[in-house]
């Protein structure tokens, strides 16, 4: 498996299936761990960082943690490949941009990934399509058990698993869902969801996590409390109280739109499709906004010539590094290529979308 293979296909978690998939794009759980007897990354010498990267790579690859796990040396990868991994949510942007020895191990279907030497020595995640939080947690917990047979993680009876930042200490568990909330934005009721999240002490962020915007009406909602609650309780609370409430707001807003503004909705949806089918240049933001409307139209059953899976896929392969990588591959260039001027990228993006959506 190489990174180039990833360029053409969708991640399993974007298939557009699973419970509540009309609103919940994906569920993610992650655990933060650090090797016992080692300083946290900030106080490691370069040699220790390398030692940790090598050791974890070996242990992870031989522990049979998931199907077809492969490792990418992120420190040695080119900027385009690093951006590609970040766009696929396999590494964080911070991990992509860092300078020290680091890596990522990814399962063949990309539902499982371990970042090595991010803020903590180990950041492992399971990503599933739709609302599949319990399954995702069970999987990550089993992976953690298996890894713990091979390495000791820093742990104290008082504080639990010890992490570089005290906001992750204890369980080291972060659960999050990526939600598509176009109707709440169209009806100007986004603050409802935001307030609900705030009341429940949740973080709400854009598509690519910390410090990113809500491009394409996607929002990530995650727990903030990691200490003093059992893992199962964190998952259950999220699953049974938090997500259903926000989901309910979005679904109500969709119903209201249909009831009072169905012509307006159809107009937006079909205009979006027409633009995507004929544009000669498409900037990333514009593509995201148009695909968001198209996705809403599919979920409201106003349009059936495009399916959810295709739209989910386009959200991903229309991202800048994907567009550029795909273009390089088509031209038979395997290695990292120089940064492409944005206008050229916008042209290629428009071409890809026209082709995939049956445009002219």
């Amino acid at each position: 498996m190489t990174l180039s293979d990833l360029t053409h296909r969708t991640s399993e978690w974007l298939r557009g299936v699973g419970p509540m998939h009309d609103v919940v794009i994906s569920s993610r759980v992650r655990l933060a761990r650090n090797l016992a007897g080692m300083p946290f990354l900030r106080k490691c010498t370069a040699q220790q960082q390398q030692e940790i990267a090598d050791r974890l790579r070996t242990e992870i690859l031989s522990a049979n943690l998931a199907e077809g796990v492969f490792h990418v040396d992120v420190a040695a990868a080119g900027p385009l490949d690093r951006a590609l991994l970040a766009e696929r949510h396999l590494i964080s942007r911070q991990h992509a941009d860092a300078k020290h020895p680091r890596g990522v191990a990814v399962s063949g279907d990309e539902t499982f990934a371990v970042m090595i030497n991010e803020e903590d020595h180990v950041r492992m995640q399971v990503l599933r399509s739709g609302m599949q939080m319990r399954d995702a947690f069970e999987q990550i917990n089993a992976v953690d058990d298996r890894l713990e047979e091979r390495v000791d993680f820093a742990y104290s009876n008082r504080y639990g698993y010890l992490t570089a930042c005290p906001t992750n200490v204890g369980t080291g568990l972060r659960v999050s869902v990526m939600l598509h909330l176009p109707a709440l934005r169209l009806t100007g009721e986004l603050d409802k969801a935001v307030h609900a999240a705030r009341d429940m002490r949740l973080a709400i962020r854009g598509l690519y996590g910390e410090g990113t915007d809500a491009s394409g009406d996607f929002f990530q909602i995650s727990n903030q409390i990691t200490l003093g609650r059992a893992e199962e309780d964190i998952v259950e609370e999220f699953l049974t109280q938090i997500v259903p409430e926000i989901l309910n707001y979005e679904r109500k807003a969709r119903e209201a739109l249909l009831k009072h503004n169905s012509v307006e909705i159809d107009d937006k949806v079909f205009r979006a499709l027409a633009l995507l089918r004929s544009a000669r240049r498409l900037a990333s933001d514009e593509m995201m906004a148009l695909l968001s409307l198209l996705r809403l139209g599919i979920n409201l059953q106003r349009i059936d010539e495009v399916d959810l899976k295709t739209v989910n896929e386009l959200f991903l392969i229309g991202q800048p590094a994907h567009v550029q990588k795909m273009h390089a591959l088509r031209r038979g260039l395997e290695g990292p290529t120089a940064a492409m001027p944005p206008e050229e990228r916008d042209e290629i993006r428009a071409e890809v979308l026209r082709q995939r959506l049956g445009g002219t």
């Binding site: 650090n34 016992a36 000791d152 742990y155 570089a164 935001v194 915007d213 200490l227 059992a230």
Partner: protein, 172 residues
Amino acid sequence: MKKKCDKCDKPATIHLTEIVNGQKMEKHLCEDCAEAEGITIKANIPISQLLEDFVLQTVGEEEETPSTPMTCEVCGMTFSEFRDKGQLGCPNDYEAFREQLLPILARAQDGNTQHVGKAPRRAGTAQQKQMAILRLRSQLKQAITAEQYERAADLRDQIKQVEAAEPERPAE
């Protein structure tokens, strides 16, 4: 590239595109103005904010004197360094800065300061062993810096020994 907030001079981090009657309207706001408009809430209480609040809260109560800076003897991290960077240096910092960390933890973690979740199967003696190795490693680092190679070799052997020692199973 970086846009300024529409309402003040801070960098905009919230970007909204709204289409009202076919007119595209863009809003670029900083977190504070977005929050004031009810568009968003602060994504997270950043650790730097927690630290700042904590420092403000304790100023006057207990001045940190420069002669006795709080330092972790294992990794050399000072509390003010943590305050600046928001990340700890090693597992021992949780003990070294215990008093200062507890109120910060309590604020960040909804009042909780005691773990109740999963424990590693070998948690019993693991904790002591972990600290022993951590200490030895920090001594090793110092020995290498001081070019005391004999001592470094000795410490390396000790680390191997402690690592190889089978942790006792915790009492069931």
